[in-house]
Amino acid sequence: MPEFTKPYESRWQAFLLLLPTFAVLIAFLYYPGVETFRLSLQQTILLGTRKTFVGLENYATLATSSAYHWSFAISVAFAAVVVVGTLVASLFVAYLLFQVDVGSSTYLIAAIWPYALPTAVAASVLLFLLHPSLGIITYVLESLTGTSLDWFTNGPQAFAIVAVVAIWKQLGYNIIFMVASLNNIPETLTESAKLDGVGHLKMLYRVYVPLMSPTLVFLVVMNTIYAFFQTFPLVDLMTSGGPNEATNLLIFKLYRDAFEFSNLGLASAESVVLFAIVAILMYVQLRLSESYTTYA
């Protein structure tokens, strides 16, 4: 809180200033948020015209559905791959940006631009360049490795390709935060470590990474949320959840259950599961950032 005494006292003015924000948040966030819970206890039949209360039946359906278990498992695996892949690749580039002597601001813009890359654009471009029969990158990869890329029919390959595109799009965001974090490290520390003759890789893992940990925790949380919630265009444009459900992530399954199969009660229960995931992640971030503040 600010140190000064607050200049304005009028309660109704404060109320009026907060009103537009509150109106939007209540109408379009809280109200539908609460409705999701209510709908998850109902079943809709006859194309949504009749609703009946079914208690926890939708949750029971999810708990026993092998298709949902599968979707949940691959979403977790997908998030893990995207988080680790993004962090490793971004850390490599960010560390170089931190080390470079001249041209750092030009390099920085050239490295963070994927922050502006729309997910649907990333999906469209790589769908073509990695196309099993037409893609130039596929062609080069196949001639270099002698393997054949066949991700329209091969599930694990499709999963890997979608993950690579997800990582590509997320690099810019991660590099921005990592470079800022590296630049906050006291220079004396770097210099004394250099005098002790510590090598680069060792410096990175022993000195920089521990000092960057608040930023890294933040990025793990943000990347996980991204992998669960913002990857819909990738699946929709590149694989439609296939082949053999290999890329049927929770967000895509939710879309289909709700808007293709009109199973609104079940889809709402799936939304509640997603809510639980985001709540847990935010809680982790909050607790860890608190513990860092106390420590510092």
Partner: protein, 289 residues
């Protein structure tokens, strides 16, 4: 730090025979990584000039025969001109609406004394737990009941209030010196005049930063417009890329056209990022806290 190391390397270059091998590696590493990150875009740009026959010759990675005519086709025949206008209108409304509403809310939170301040702030922050997929079915229902399907209200309304923007403006206002605020109040300046004449001029960088973040975020929307806009002519450009997947000619997918569409759909946010990277970076640095 930048100036110190620059002078150091200048010194290194002046010393004969002392080539900085380590820096050469760093530059090399950066050039290679940046090249790899940009390669798909470069290839998309090249392919966007090719006709379908050239595209189907896989190893043909030269500039194609179409020049810019694929862009003309995609803007006209495939309606991307309309989709781009729709996306710009949507994004600008979201940016202006969100910045205005959040400035008002932050003004109340920082400069007004009222009961349950902490609870009010928490109420705003907790909406971070409610991304669109968590409330998508009831939100769709609500829009149907309001009769907002296929309207601009449906794709802008749910986005014009935000926890992040209120949080950022609140942080920024709290960092403005108390003496300035007290002076303003002693002169009997009303709250809106105070916002307009004191706070906004002192928050230009932050307003620019929040606007860039919001614009890039709004431009990237895909799932919600896909669901709520059934009228194709009112659709945004990201979903336009979905329609483009059907672009074909005598059974062959027109990938040159699709690449042109992808490039067009990328340009506005990319331009905004390049021009406004400074306020963006500053604002993001505060967001993490």
């Amino acid at each position: 730090m930048a100036t110190r190391s620059t002078s150091e390397s200048t010194l290194a270059r002046l010393l004969p025979g002392d080539i900085d091998a380590e820096q050469a590696l760093v530059h090399g590493g950066l050039v290679v990584s940046i090249f790899l990150m940009g390669l798909p875009l470069l290839l998309a740009l090249i392919m966007s000039t090719q006709n379908t026959t050239e595209v189907y010759q896989i190893t043909n990675v030269g500039i194609g025969s179409q020049g810019l005519s694929n862009y003309e086709t995609v803007l006209g025949e495939y309606n991307f001109g309309q989709y781009m206008i729709n996306s710009v209108v949507m994004s600008v409304i979201i940016v202006v609406g969100k910045v205005t509403l959040s400035l008002f809310a932050a003004l109340a939170l920082v400069y007004y004394r009222f009961p349950y301040e902490r609870a009010v702030f928490m109420f705003i922050l907790l909406t971070l737990l409610l991304p669109v997929p968590v409330r998508i079915v009831p939100l769709f229902d609500l829009m149907a009941r309001l009769g907002w399907g296929n309207t601009l209200m449906a794709i802008t309304g749910p986005y014009i209030a935000s926890a992040t923007a209120v949080f950022l403006f609140r942080q920024h206002f709290m960092s403005i010196p108390a003496s300035l605020v007290e002076n303003a109040h002693l002169d009997g300046v009303g709250p809106l005049k105070f916002l307009w004449e004191v706070l906004i001029p002192m928050s230009r960088g932050m307003i620019a930063g929040v606007s860039v973040i919001t614009f890039i975020y709004a431009w990237n929307q895909y799932l919600w417009p896909l669901i709520i806009m059934s009228d194709q002519s009112k659709q945004v450009v990201q979903v336009g890329l979905r329609f483009l997947q059907a672009a074909s000619q005598s059974g062959l997918t027109r990938w040159g056209i699709i690449m042109a569409g992808a490039v067009i759909a990328l340009l506005p946010p990319l331009a905004v990022l390049i021009v406004m990277h400074r306020p963006l970076l500053k604002t993001l640095a505060i967001q993490q806290k």
